[in-house]
């Protein structure tokens, strides 16, 4: 029997986006209006709290392994990724790239269209249609069909092996906290009163703001600043640090700065927004860079200054789960919390708040929680991408991390302007940098800045995950011409540097061991 209390306490469902067919379909998939929570099982093998990427991946993996699984979602399935993050942003970015290419048509030997007009409503309509389309494959009905008991409502732990959804108690053998993170609000005086958007609301806009201020030069800020600028908004991006994407390679961030400026974005690095106020129907933001003070007037503000883990109201104290507001839920390398029955995964506990990492952590947590696995988070080869134009993708560790760990490191860099296909595509900005342990071809990490860096990085991730050295990638045949040839070229450079052949130090040792002396 369904739990009427769970139905009654539902959070407001209606987003402020237009109530069109796409939105109705998305809601029907991700939180059906007529959904009735199932009668709970006496005890679940796994209760997952949070129905975003992490939670649904974990619930499906557990259910497919034969476990009795309950999934508790407070709001909408799909989480940040589908509803307010990866998917809607990529949909907008695709359209914005098209506009940029139209304006830049001469570069490709094509005519610039005579009248380039941005239909913002159409842009957003396409985004909503894509979101609705993808919601079909992670719908509540699909999860239920996979054998998962889906409960909508606020899940709150009541003890070390129990929680409650509304008035419905659920008992578990193991639980997984996957409540994700929410946008952080920077403590800027006047910001809240003046009004601002985050990633949770920007995709509900129905009109293009003529002037947009983006606060924060992280992935979200950079991606959306570029997209909205390409739609025609006069965009200013303010970044407290001297470079965008502070954790990325300096050269990557510099190429991005140049690309954003090329698009016409007013780039204000090393600058802080110290106050915001509303005056005459516009928002005035006071900026400070060292001793230089200025004020800009805008129509909308987007903040992208980070995300904070969603840990409130979960009853974690009752469950014996340690957490804090900054780090989120405390976990060990096996993703286990202080309560051995309870695990956490995804943004609620990880420093890297990326969808790819969340997905991988979900699988680790399920394996460790239900199958007695001993998989370590630290063993993950983590990868991510910022989908600006050019894209910036990374895997493994950075040079500064290697050097801080005392690892001698060397970087093989191939400029995209040395890659035939990139030249043919007029997509020469960027590089492939592959970091190896000095004197070997052991890959430590890589950064790619290229138009399609997110697609290119996978070959290196695969090599790292499989323990394949860089030289071996040079012996893999690739279709010609492709932009991924940059990786082959880096491999060839490594091979040459290691002695003009593809014989790596490991091979040398082996050859020496079997008494082979010729050839090199």
């Amino acid at each position: 029997m369904a739990d009427p209390a769970a139905t009654a306490e539902r959070a407001p469902l209606r987003p402020s986006a237009p109530d069109d067919a796409s939105e109705r379909e998305r809601l029907a998939s991700l939180r059906p209006p007529d959904w009735r929570n199932p009668q709970p099982q006496p005890r679940y093998d796994l209760v997952v709290v949070g129905g975003g990427t992490t939670g649904t991946v974990a619930a499906l993996a557990a259910a497919r392994a034969g476990a009795k699984v309950a999934l508790v979602e407070r709001h909408l399935l799909g989480g940040n990724c589908l509803n307010t993050g990866c998917i809607p942003s990529k949909a907008l970015i695709r359209t914005s790239r098209l506009y940029a290419e139209m304006r830049d048509a001469e570069r490709y030997g094509a005519q610039v269209p005579a009248d380039i007009r941005v239909d913002f409503a159409a842009v957003m309509g396409r985004m909503r249609a894509i979101r609705a389309r993808l919601s079909r494959i992670c719908s509540a009905a699909d999860l239920a069909a996979a054998g998962i008991d889906v409960f909508f409502g606020l899940g709150r732990f009541t003890g070390p092996d129990s929680l409650q959804v509304g008035a419905t108690p659920l008992r578990f053998r193991k639980a997984l906290i996957a409540t994700g993170a929410r946008p952080d609000t920077p403590p800027i005086p006047g910001l809240v009163a003046a009004g601002y958007c985050t990633n949770a609301s920007i995709f509900d806009l129905t009109a293009l703001p003529p002037r947009l201020l983006v606060i924060g030069g992280g992935p979200l800020g950079c991606e959306m600043a570029q997209a909205f600028c390409r739609f025609g908004a006069h965009t200013t991006i303010v970044q407290h640090w001297p470079l965008f994407l502070p954790r990325e390679e300096r050269d990557a961030a510099q190429i991005l700065s140049a690309a954003l400026a090329h698009d016409g974005i007013a780039v204000r690095l090393n600058t802080q927004v110290v106050r915001v106020r509303e005056e005459g129907g516009q928002k005035l933001a006071d900026l400070v860079s060292d001793d230089y003070h200025s004020t800009i007037a805008v129509d909308a503000i987007l903040t992208g200054t980070g995300r904070v883990p969603s840990v409130e109201g979960l009853g974690l104290e009752a469950a014996g789960v340690a957490y804090d507001a900054t780090r989120g839920v405390h976990v060990d390398d096996f993703l286990r919390t202080g309560n051995p029955r309870i695990y956490a995964a995804g943004d609620v506990c990880l420093e890297d708040k990326f969808n790819d990492t969340a997905d991988a952590s979900a699988r680790i947590a399920v394996c460790n929680a239900l199958q007695g696995g001993r998989e370590r988070l630290s063993a993950l080869v983590t990868t991510w991408c910022t989908y600006t134009d050019p894209e910036i993708a990374h895997v493994g560790i950075y040079v500064r991390q290697a050097r801080a760990q005392g690892i001698p490191v060397k970087t093989y860099t191939i400029l995209m302007h040395d890659v035939d296909r990139a030249v043919a595509d007029s997509e020469e900005a960027g590089f492939v940098k592959i970091h190896v342990r000095e004197g070997s071809d052991h890959i430590l990490g890589a950064t790619i800045v290229a138009r399609h860096a997110g697609e290119m990085i996978n070959e290196i991730t695969l090599a790292m995950r499989s323990g394949i050295g860089l030289c071996a990638l040079g012996r893999v045949m690739h279709p010609y011409p492709t932009q991924a040839e940059a990786i082959t070229k880096a491999a060839e450079a490594c091979t040459r540097a290691l002695g003009g052949s593809a014989i790596t130090p490991r091979w040398r040792r082996w050859l020496h061991g079997v008494g082979w002396t010729g050839g090199e």
Binding site: I255, A258, D291, Y412, H417, F431, K433, E438, A493, C494
Partner: protein
């Protein structure tokens, strides 16, 4: 000289008619290499004689109207005077008087947190009023420019070693100035040295990581007898280095060419290695040679299709450049950067080349540099007004077959680095003086340098 610049060169209106720049440059190119270098070096050193204020010894940043003094240019001037003595271009007494004047100024000028002081904690503001010596343009208290000033002062102290009252005074002032610098304060509580500080807002928030021109700053900070930083702080800085294989060339990456030159103007890095260079089986001198190769490879590829770039026409560095496209090119989408640290291969690059930049790498790759310098002068004779290199030129900003855009006037840093590097190639004078400088030796040793002349 062509140009869309609005800058005015000081005294340009009163200048007597001179042979055309093109004709004068052509005459220079007829000389052999030694004579050509002699000529270019003397012209470069003339900059300091022409632009110094005799009253206080301060030297102008540029020849443009209203230019302030740049403290780094004073550092180059103090070194250039010793070269000028040795070459017979300046009497020892006059060079000594010029040097003493400016060193006394720095000794006696106001230090403190006042916004218009000359310096603070032994450091000096980047730009000073040529007459009053007070801070100008609300510039930053500059760590690196103070280091370049002190490098020049230490060169003078190493040169003027006679047991006479004026030379004893000079050495005492230099010692006092060096002892006064509070290098530890300049860390701002961090592991590495900060780039600058302002009384209005404190330490600058610029990322100054990776290999850069700060090498000599660290050496001086480590060698201080009074406020020396810890060797661990040098290690913290070198931990930000990137060793790259780029265009099939292994090198310690830094984009702008001047980074591979400035510390080398004073320190002979041949054969001495710190821990990083030992690991890489290289040294900073060889690295600077490789940097010229990287510049050459970039220019040969010329990925942004700028006019003029070639294997023998390169020099992306910190230099002046156009800010606005000329009217004839108003429709261009080219982004122009004005004065900027241009670099390879990641930019910024707007087609502007520092014509002097290859020559400032002369000791590293003499043959390549001379060939490149001759080619550039032959193709673009307009880049050598008054036989001194302009800060930059940009062939892409020119009407068809017209002369390249050329930066107006001359910049002291450019003349300084050219003066010193030609001398280091010709006689090794500045390197020799600084090899005998206890502060430099101590600083290098504390940074972990070993081998060679150390």
């Amino acid at each position: 000289m062509s140009g869309a610049d609005t800058g005015m060169e000081a005294g340009a209106a009163a200048a007597a008619p001179v042979p055309s720049t093109e004709a004068a440059t052509a005459a220079l190119l007829a000389l052999g290499d030694d004579a050509l270098l002699e000529h270019l070096q003397r012209a470069a050193i003339d900059y300091f004689l022409q632009t110094a204020n005799p009253a206080n010894g301060l030297v102008a940043d540029t020849t443009r109207e209203g230019s302030p003094c740049s403290i780094a240019v004073v550092g180059f001037a103090l070194s250039a005077y010793t070269i000028a003595i040795e070459r017979g271009w300046l009497a020892r007494d006059e060079a000594l008087a010029r040097s003493l004047a400016v060193l006394r100024f720095f000794r006696d000028s106001e230090q403190g947190e006042a916004p218009l002081a000359t310096g603070h904690r032994g450091f000096y503001y980047h730009f000073l009023d040529m007459h009053s010596g007070r801070r100008m343009w609300q510039s930053e208290l500059s760590m690196i420019d103070t280091a370049l000033l002190l490098a020049g002062a230490l060169t003078a102290a190493s040169y003027f070693t006679a047991d006479t009252a004026p030379e004893r005074e000079l050495r005492a002032i230099v010692d006092a100035l060096y002892r006064r610098v509070d290098w530890c304060w300049a860390q701002g509580g961090e592991a590495t040295l900060r780039q600058g500080w302002k009384p209005e807002s404190g330490f600058l928030n610029y990322g100054w990581d990776g290999y850069n021109e700060g090498l000599i700053l660290y050496v001086l900070a480590l060698g201080s007898p009074t406020h020396a930083i810890d060797p661990g702080h040098y290690a913290a800085w070198t931990a930000t280095y990137q060793w790259e294989n780029l265009y099939d060339i292994d090198f310690l990456y830094a984009g702008p060419l001047f980074i591979h030159q400035f510390s080398h103007a004073w320190i002979d890095f041949r054969g001495i290695r710190d821990a990083f260079m030992r690991e890489k089986r290289c040294d900073y001198f060889e690295n600077s040679r490789r940097a010229t190769e990287v510049q050459r490879e970039y220019a040969r590829r010329n990925p942004l299709a700028f006019r003029g770039y070639a294997g023998d026409c390169w020099g992306l560095t910190a230099c002046d450049g156009p800010s606005d496209p000329p009217a004839a090119l108003a429709t261009t989408r080219l982004r122009l950067f004005g004065y900027a640290a241009r670099g390879v291969p990641y930019g910024p690059d707007d087609g502007s080349i520092g014509g002097w930049a290859p020559l400032a790498s002369l000791p590293f790759a003499p043959e390549l540099v001379l060939r490149t310098t001759r080619t550039m002068l032959q193709r673009y004779p307009e880049i050598l007004p008054k036989q001194q290199f302009a800060s930059s030129f940009n062939p892409s900003l020119a009407a068809a077959d017209g002369p390249a855009w050329v930066s107006v006037g001359h910049f002291g840093l450019d003349q300084g680095i050219v003066s010193l590097m030609i001398e280091n190639q010709r006689s090794g004078l500045v390197w020799r003086l600084m090899r005998g400088c206890p502060a430099i030796r101590r600083g290098l040793q504390r940074a972990g340098f070993r081998g060679g002349w150390l």
